[in-house]
């Protein structure tokens, strides 16, 4: 599976467009991570705990996107766009939306 943010792949023309696909992953940083991050907020510095949650959410969204692409017979996803949003009361949850065009290269 070739996942790229560009709209074409060098040397590999698109043979078939299979449509726009998207996947989302919503992750709540749990109460303990919030405590760690809260301390970070007080004392300053990089919050690795939140960074990991972000990374995890992104991985989940891309994994789901590739599974969807595979199920419709694609072997590549072009023009992938990642959107990050916070949702829930007080922005306590993180949502990642991955969108792309499934193609057969």
């Amino acid at each position: 599976m070739l996942i790229t943010t560009t709209s074409s792949v060098d040397g590999r023309p698109v043979q078939e467009y299979l449509g726009v696909i998207n996947a989302q992953s919503i992750i709540g940083a749990n109460i303990f991570k919030d405590i760690f991050a809260g301390l970070r907020d007080v004392f300053g510095g990089r919050s690795k705990t939140y960074e990991r949650v972000l990374e995890e959410a992104k991985e989940d969204a891309l994994r789901e996107l590739s599974q969807k692409a595979q199920a419709i017979g694609a072997n590549g996803i072009l023009g992938v766009d990642l959107d990050f949003e916070t949702i829930g009361s007080g922005g306590s949850m993180l949502m990642v939306i991955a969108t792309g065009t499934a193609v057969r290269l």
Binding site: M1, D34, F36, L39, A71, N75, S89, S92
Partner: protein, 354 residues
């Protein structure tokens, strides 16, 4: 997750098809077009495959041991990655990298929670008391006067009774850095309280029920101890300290968490309040014993409070004062064999009230 372009042999000797392979932590899925030209996917568990690198053809061969399928991927990366996954799966849970992370995070969390509990239970109260003891008598007086004015009690004052009570207390001759000012307020509440800086307020209804001078002496020495030991100021600082601490830690959380935590904090401050009340009882009793005033005054006073309290009384841990029966108990215990001597001067002043 990793993905590969692979040649897929659905069964032994079958025609190869082009496929895309997604390798996850526990399984891999193969997407391909079957003989009818439809999209199809296969799902293999990582533990059910055998991956090896065929050096002569420079391909990774992935064999499905529960069936006849085979995948061939160019290069050695696929075989290497699957072998790594299998090695990781074979480890005991606490040796896996995810398990190790859990253990490390758990230890870190316990450490931090322990530190926070220590801060909350020991250091914050200690610091608050330290700060409270630094507050000058004058500041406390200003604080108490402001509170007294805000309550608007001056208008309800019974001036004659106040005068008698002040006389009574000076006759008790209790040394203190504070200028003790006692006010009798006309109201039908059976209660009395002390403000920081030396103000003591007694409600007329309680005064009416008191029928001997040791009782009055007990009441005043109890309230005096609250003033002299800076109980109000300490409570204020303690409440403030723990509120700030809790606010810093849990302020960002939702309503449910903050309600739970604030209630737990309230219960803890009630426990502190009971401790101060007991201290006031014991130090007050000491004042009585030094002056040979009958300690029965305390028990009689508590009986009045008990009679005034609603019959279905709350469990002790919800109250700001210790249980009345308990108070009677420890006063009796500590005043055993006390020498009692009639104090004519106090008696004469007390009789002016009646």
């Amino acid at each position: 997750m990793k993905s590969y372009f692979a040649t897929y042999y659905p069964s032994l000797g079958a025609a190869p098809v082009e496929s895309t392979v997604l390798v996850f932590d526990k399984n891999l899925s193969i997407g391909y077009r079957n003989a009818n030209g439809n999209n199809a996917t296969e799902n293999w568990l990582i533990k059910d495959v055998q991956a090896s690198f065929d050096f002569s053809r420079q391909v990774s061969r992935i064999l499905y041991v529960k069936g006849a399928g085979e995948l061939q991927v160019e290069g050695n990366d696929a075989a290497k990655f699957i072998n790594e996954l299998q090695a990781e799966q074979a480890k005991a849970w606490h040796k896996k990298s995810s398990g190790k992370e859990w253990i490390r995070n758990g230890a870190l969390l316990l450490g931090i929670l322990g530190l926070l509990v220590l801060l909350y239970l020991l250091i914050v109260p200690w610091l608050s008391e330290k700060l409270a003891s630094k507050v000058s008598v004058k500041t406390e007086q200003q604080l108490g006067d402001a509170a007294y004015d805000a309550m608007g009690l001056a208008a309800l004052e019974d001036k004659d009774a106040s005068l008698v009570l002040n006389d009574f207390f000076s006759a008790m001759d209790v040394p203190s850095a504070y200028d003790i000012r006692i006010t009798v307020v006309k109201d039908n509440v059976v209660n009395a309280f002390a403000l920081p800086g030396g103000r003591i307020v007694v409600y007329s209804e309680l005064l009416k029920q008191i029928d001997s001078y040791p009782e009055l002496a007990a009441l005043l020495s109890h309230e005096f101890t609250h003033v002299n030991n800076k109980h109000s100021t300490k409570s204020i600082f303690r409440r403030l300290g723990s509120k700030v601490f809790i606010g810093l830690l849990f302020g960002r959380f939702g309503t449910v968490t903050s309600v739970l935590i604030n209630h737990a904090d309230d219960l803890k401050s009630l426990k502190y309040s009971r401790k101060l009340e007991k201290e006031a009882d014991m130090d007050g009793l000491e004042i009585l014993l030094q002056r040979k005033i009958d300690p029965q005054g305390f028990t009689a006073l508590f009986q009045h409070l008990k009679a005034a309290a609603p019959s279905n009384s709350m469990p002790e841990f919800l109250g700001s004062h210790p249980d009345v029966d308990k108070r009677i108990g420890y006063i009796k215990e500590s005043s055993k064999g006390a020498a009692v001597q009639e104090n004519e001067q106090l008696k004469a002043i007390f009789d002016k009230l009646k």
